[in-house]
Structure formats: C-alpha cells, structure tokens
C-alpha cells in the first residue's frame, strides 16, 4: 500500500465538490448523465500534475477550460462501432459525454498550463507560483 500524505485541503475540496454536485444535480438531466474520468494528482515540487484516464477518447474531443479558480475538463467519448450487424456479449465500457471540475489552489499559475495526451491518459501540468509561496511563508513568522 502506498502512503498518501494527508492534506486537509483535499478533504475540503472533496466536500466542496460534493456540495457543487448536490446543487448541480437539480440542473438539466442531460448534464447529470455525464461520466467522470478517474484522476491521479501528483505534486512535482514546482508544479501540480493531473493524470486523467480517457481511454479511447480522441484528442479533438477533449476540452480543458480554466475559469477563475475552476478547471473544467469535458468532452465526449464516441462509440467505436455502431451498427446492427453486431451481436453484443459484453458492454462494460462507458461512452458519451464526460465532465469533471477541479478547484485550483491560488498558488497555481493558471496562465502556464501544459496538456498532453498519450495512451489514453491526459496529463495536465499546472505551474506553481513561487512568489506567493514565499510570501505565504513570511506571513507565518
């Protein structure tokens, strides 16, 4: 088992997410049917890296938007084969539109975002602002 450092902000973000989920659930139904891709988040010292699983999704069908402190990932996973000529035995994979929001910490520079897509994994790198970090440390003392 891997140890994950406890970060109270994560809990807070989760709570905030569940709050927003609660409120957006009353929104039009089409939106609540979106699926939510799995994500891993790493802290790479000078940046925060998000790894999002989007197997079988085309690059053109992924949208990443940042508005204020919210990063919205959305898009569509199109089914590969449509047709009546096929008999299905198993259909476990999810297709259709997906959406996931992330609340960004203020120390991240939203102007410096890098995104790449490889082997069905979207990697978003958000640079940290060193100046605010330093300033924060001074204010503690």
């Amino acid at each position: 088992m891997r140890l994950v450092r406890y970060n109270p902000l994560n809990e807070l973000a989760l709570l905030r997410n569940s709050f927003t989920d609660f409120f957006t659930d009353s929104a039009p139904k089409a939106e609540s049917q979106d699926w939510s891709p799995a994500v891993d988040i790493f802290d790479a010292k000078d940046s925060i890296v998000l790894m999002i699983d989007l197997p079988g999704v085309q690059k053109e069908d992924i949208r990443v938007n940042i508005e204020k402190e919210i990063l919205t990932l959305s898009g569509e996973r199109k089914p590969e084969i449509e047709g009546d000529k096929h008999t299905f035995y198993k259909r476990e994979r999810i297709f259709g539109s997906f959406r996931r929001n992330f609340i960004l910490s203020p120390e991240l520079l939203t102007e410096e975002v890098d995104a790449s897509f490889k082997e069905g994994v979207l990697k978003i790198t958000l640079k940290k602002n060193k100046i605010t970090e330093a300033a924060k440390q001074i204010s503690i003392h």
Partner: protein, 128 residues
C-alpha cells in the same frame, strides 16, 4: 524465519505476477459479427511494450502494465499504477493463428476471426 515467510507468500499468491503491482480488471466490450469476434479492453496509460496477449488451451489472457511517470508526491490517487489482467474462454470456432491485436489511445483491440468451418454458409441447391 524470513525464508519461511517468503515460502508462505509464494504459496498464497500462486499466480506469477510482474512485481508487486495492484491488479485491475479492465472494462471490455465484446461483440460478434459474421466473420469475427471483436474485443475492446480499456487500458489507459499502458504502452504497447507492456501488453501481452496469450491464447492457450482455449483461454485468452490479457495483461497490461500501467506505469505512469510520476516524479512527484502522490496527492490524490484514484487509479495509480496497476496491472490489468483478465482472461476469457475462447470458443473452438476461433482461428487462433489469425488473432490480431492493436493498441490505440489506451484501448486494446483484438480481432478473433472465426475459422472457415464456423462461418455461416449458404448452401447452393443444385438442380438436377
């Protein structure tokens, strides 16, 4: 003492696995048309070199190791590094020699052609 533990561990595990990775069952779609059976399995983050597909004794086994280049401290992990493992029994009508596999955008696509004998045939009726 340590050695004994080791032996106990290998007995428990039984199946040989590559390293100490967690295992995951990939989601699959399986469908069939006149000529072949098609299997699509989701394996995000797996590179071609880390995939193995075996057909042995009527069993098709898939394995794919996912190693993300994580140079940082994991803050939030929903998936992590895993080994995708799943096996299926293959009907005898499949021509094992002609099985094709392709990996694209984190999806493993297998085509299992049916043997000529198993394809639906139109039988011509001759007039005397």
């Amino acid at each position: 003492m340590n050695q004994r533990n080791e032996i106990a561990k290998t007995e428990e595990n039984g199946i040989k696995r590559t390293g100490n990775l967690k295992t995951a069952i990939p989601a699959v779609d399986i469908y069939e048309n006149e000529d072949e059976i098609i299997l699509h399995a989701d394996m995000p983050g797996v590179v071609k070199e880390a995939v193995s597909v075996n057909v042995d004794n009527g069993t098709l086994s898939l394995s794919g190791v996912r190693t993300l280049e994580n140079k940082g401290d994991p803050k939030w992990e929903e998936f992590g590094n895993v080994e995708f493992i799943r096996s299926f029994s293959v009907p005898q009508t499949i021509d094992v020699e002609r099985v094709e596999a392709e990996l694209m955008d984190g999806v493993l696509k297998l085509r299992l052609p049916k043997s000529e004998a198993a394809k639906p045939r139109q039988i011509e009726i001759k007039t005397a």
